[in-house]
Amino acid sequence: MLEAWLTLIWIVIKILLIILPLMGAVAYLTLAERKIIGRMQARMGPNRAGLFGVLQPLADGLKLLCKEIILPSSANRFLFIVSPILVLAPALAVWAVIPFSEGLVLANINAGVLYLLAMTSLGVYGILIAGWSSNSKYAFYGSMRAAAQVISYEISMGFALAGVLLASGSMNLSQIVLRQAGGVWHWFVIPLFPLFFVYWVSAIAETNRAPFDVAEGESEIVAGFHVEYSGMGFAIFFLAEYANMIFVSTLAVLLFFGGWLSPFEGIPILGKWFAWMPGIIWLLAKISLFLFLYLWLRATFPRYRYDQIMRLGWKILIPLSLLWVIVVALFVYYHVGIWFA
């Protein structure tokens, strides 16, 4: 009995070891976003709270924590309160199967990728319910847009992941990463580049980020599905959005860019120099690169019109991913190149 309790406590500690740094990363991702986008617009970004604005996320968090939580009088109370939780829970649950380094994973399950797909598809419920239960036009429009967009892009994202599964022959994330061992030229991004492109575009659309952020559309529908939320309710939506951004970047790294593997592996001199680096540092560095790309795209591109988003998803990305899944299947069947030997 005692042993069972100890394992339970150990699992809780492991969960905290993942969640707490994640929360810190989310907080500082908001600062990084404001700083980087600021610099791309030749501004400085927040620089008042603390040195270079390092205390800004804490100030924002404190402000949101102290704000009043407003329940709209005609809202469905229970669903209104539950929906931020429904958004946050899948955003945190996905981290259970993410391997941070070889063997460093909370639950090394065989159907890892499938689990991720199932969890990410649950996230849309919180958005839908939030929009409906707020009983507000803008929130409802926002949630409709978000839901339609997420459903459409889930398909092409699923096909992109299916291509990776075909290439690696496993649904276990650790094994997918290990299949890419042996140097940069073994990474799946090279044979699966079109799928990576499809994955990345759909990932941005799935997380409702610019340039696909019509769900938020501050110029036409104020703030989308979370207009009616204030204080912590809003903060939780925010938290989930940024946690999802980090997750999506992590998944891109794991599936296409060799996860925790060193990019200098197999290169004569550099490989030896960097051999001492633990895998998790490489993983974090690669994730940061992808997060930077997220912000870079946001700073560069204007928002897509809604029908253009649908056109891109259904008429370009889905056929492209379907085609490349077939190509990958042929690659695997005929053992093309070093990747499928």
Partner: protein, 202 residues
């Protein structure tokens, strides 16, 4: 002494039954749909207990993640009136008949099914065994033909649905050709004309 697994089983299945009942008893359609989602999730958890993780996750991914979202999408746009009424008993005898039929079929299946005997303990739970592979193997060898036929059936259904709703291209429909928009250049759109001013002449 009840084991932890039994505890899980009974709590999950009682919630499954409760939420399934709520689907048909709750008056508001959106709430009914949400209870249906809950019962799907509970069913997925039951399958997870049986170590059928592939089926369980696919149930969540397909039914909860895609189909029910579309359902909710439509139901949410319905007028918010509570349209279900207790007074409409007209279809009740027929429903009872259908219910009895389904129930007897279920009992018959349970009695004669080999599955019941097999599901008491999942066959092989060593670490190399993945039921994804097992299902894939069976689907693409033994049941390849039915599987492909289901695929074609779904395609036909999809085409039929499009045919039912597609009423031809309207002549007065407003739309834009994106290729044409992208192709637009300054030379096509803008024309500089030199007009002599009138004051100078007079």
């Amino acid at each position: 002494m009840i084991s932890l697994l039994d505890c899980f089983f009974y709590s999950i299945s009682s919630m499954l039954v409760a939420s399934s009942l709520a689907v048909i008893l709750v008056r508001h359609p959106v709430r009914a749909a949400l209870f249906l989602v809950l019962s799907f999730v509970m069913a997925a958890m039951l399958w997870m207990l049986l170590e059928a993780e592939f089926l369980s996750l696919v149930l969540i991914f397909v039914y909860v993640g895609a189909i029910m979202t579309l359902f909710l999408f439509v139901i949410m746009m319905l007028p918010a009136e509570e349209s279900l009424s207790w007074k409409k008993w007209r279809g009740f005898p027929f429903a009872l008949l259908l219910f009895a039929l389904l129930l007897s079929l279920l009992f018959y299946m349970l009695k004669h099914s080999l599955l019941l005997g097999a599901s008491a303990s999942p066959a092989d739970t060593t670490s190399t065994y993945t039921n994804t592979q097992a299902i894939g193997h069976i689907l693409y060898t033994q049941y390849a033909l039915p599987f492909e036929m289901i695929g074609i059936l779904l395609l036909v259904a999809m085409v039929a649905a499009i045919m039912l709703t597609f009423r031809g291209r309207r002549v007065d429909a407003k739309g834009q050709c994106i290729n044409k928009q992208v192709r637009a250049s300054k030379q096509d759109q803008l024309k500089l004309v030199n007009i002599p001013s009138e004051g100078e002449k007079g």
